[in-house]
Symmetry: D2
Subunit: 179 residues, 4 copies
């Protein structure tokens, strides 16, 4: 299974990078093939759904090989970062039949629950399939030690459960992409 991690913010000083790197490590350990897809490498200045840009072509190559995605994104004003949306909007039916797991990051106590809710219908419109489990990184500043290990030892278990669900649906959806 090839399930890349999308880091959904390009903001200077972004704390979500820590969460994304942690998810990357856990996903590798779980046995998925993965890599970090950084929206910083998909910086465009306007929505472009022509699919002709270099960014669209690179993303398309990644999507083609993929069985699903994990998105790690902060919540900005109860919604998603603009740069994440522009990147996702580069493609459309190319995403068909990919499972997607949504992880969110917040400075405060609510873990980015709202950006997860706003992304779900967008994912469905992009022909992707959100799973039920999400990982919510609340109070991100206090989540990881200097080696990027979580202080809360139950987090690994929750991620395991998240990856289990992702794995089940990634397998199930593989069949649908043959048609």
């Amino acid at each position: 299974m090839y399930v890349p991690i999308i880091l959904g913010t390009a903001r200077i000083g972004r704390q979500s990078e820590k969460a994304a790197k942690y998810m990357l490590a856990q996903t590798k350990k779980y046995g998925f093939e993965t890599e970090l897809i950084d929206v910083r490498n998909f910086r465009i200045q306007a929505t472009d759904n022509s699919k002709q840009s270099a960014e669209a072509k690179i993303l398309n190559e990644i999507v083609k090989k993929s069985d699903g995605f994990i998105i790690v994104t902060p919540e900005y004003n109860h919604g998603y970062p603009g740069e994440l949306k522009m990147m996702l909007d580069l493609l459309y039916e190319e995403y068909t039949g990919r499972v997607v797991g949504l992880c969110a990051v917040s400075i405060g106590p609510f873990g980015g629950t709202r950006v997860v809710e706003q992304l779900k219908p967008v994912m469905t419109e992009l022909h992707m399939h959100p799973i039920r489990e999400s990982i919510y990184f609340s109070k991100i500043s206090d989540t990881f030690d200097e080696n990027n290990n979580p202080f809360d030892k139950t987090l690994d278990d929750r991620v395991k459960k998240f990856l289990d669900e992702l794995s089940i649906y990634a397998k199930a959806l593989k069949e649908t992409r043959k048609n």
Copy 2:
């Protein structure tokens, strides 16, 4: 495949019944086993997630046999009917791995797009899997003739496409329920 149609309003004078009956006929014709699940038969006066009520037990029997659901619901003030939500909230992980197709009904021109968006994250939390295609019954009063056939002959084709997608994912998800 057993894919019942849930009619999501119990309101007197409900026009969604026409849409639900049309979807029932089309779904049968398509070859699915189906039946109409009328929220009128699940009238409760308060949310009850004890799973002990007669209504919960009846719904559970239906869910157990099901491969997925089609929900046909009006949009009330940009949200879902209360009676539909109370019925859905009767159960929880019992829904795991069922595909769901969302159809919406409106008096006006926008076909209930907003209730579909509000239901998607609820479906995901209920462990169900919404498909991308939806059927939007705009201007419901002008949609069907006296034999409940649509005036717009392209509707049948759109429903066919909707059922095709439902069928693909119902099959794919069947595997996941074995675990």
Copy 3:
């Protein structure tokens, strides 16, 4: 200012009642005229927007006198309780120009953030005006002592800020209802 508190669940064993009673006490203390509007007293079995029922007439009398509302509701499966929606759907333009503050209750750590987000567009469609501040009662079982006082002493201050905002907009909107 008359700002009633709507308790949005009729579920047996509801914990939101504690949060609603706390909000009632705080709102009185703040100097608003208020009372508890319990959805249990508006039990209907189906959406009814005829405005002819006894329930609709009682609600209408309350709305007429009101300057705004505080809604205290649990989050059920990432959405609102069906009984709350049915009650709200009893009326429509009668709500025009009322401010509304949304408070949510959860068993888990996220305070019902998702039901607040789902209610906002419903409020707007009902001609009401949600304020930015919300009170999120996370881990409701651990929030109040046996006298219904919060263990976390900062809660009173957050409620004060919430009521300040409510007050500002209740005053501002009063003018609009004269037209």
Copy 4:
């Protein structure tokens, strides 16, 4: 009253420009002071909430003078354009007490209803106050003649109603900004 129109897409070939220019003309005619704020002039490559950029400072000057905003935006994959979100995220409490009217544009029949719903909670978090009325430009390609006049002559009346509501709340909210 100074109520600028934000054109929410920078996409090449954007059709929303026609809708924005029409709204600009109608808003002037109505008697508001207004101008077009084009997201193309706020092109940034990553979310930046430092408020230090040239773009943030220009936007802040506009916001300071404003009584409210009209946003004209297409719906992209059931959500908002990334460039619009990045622009809005430049500021935060600066928006306090501004009314906002949401207009949406779609190629298809549903007028961008979904982007309006997704923006509402974002507006509230940004301390703005969405009105109930929205203008939905469905089938944008068929909406305007070569002089950018709408074929449907009822549109002017609907915009009048939208601006009436905007006007009422812009006036009411003016008072709140004195504090």
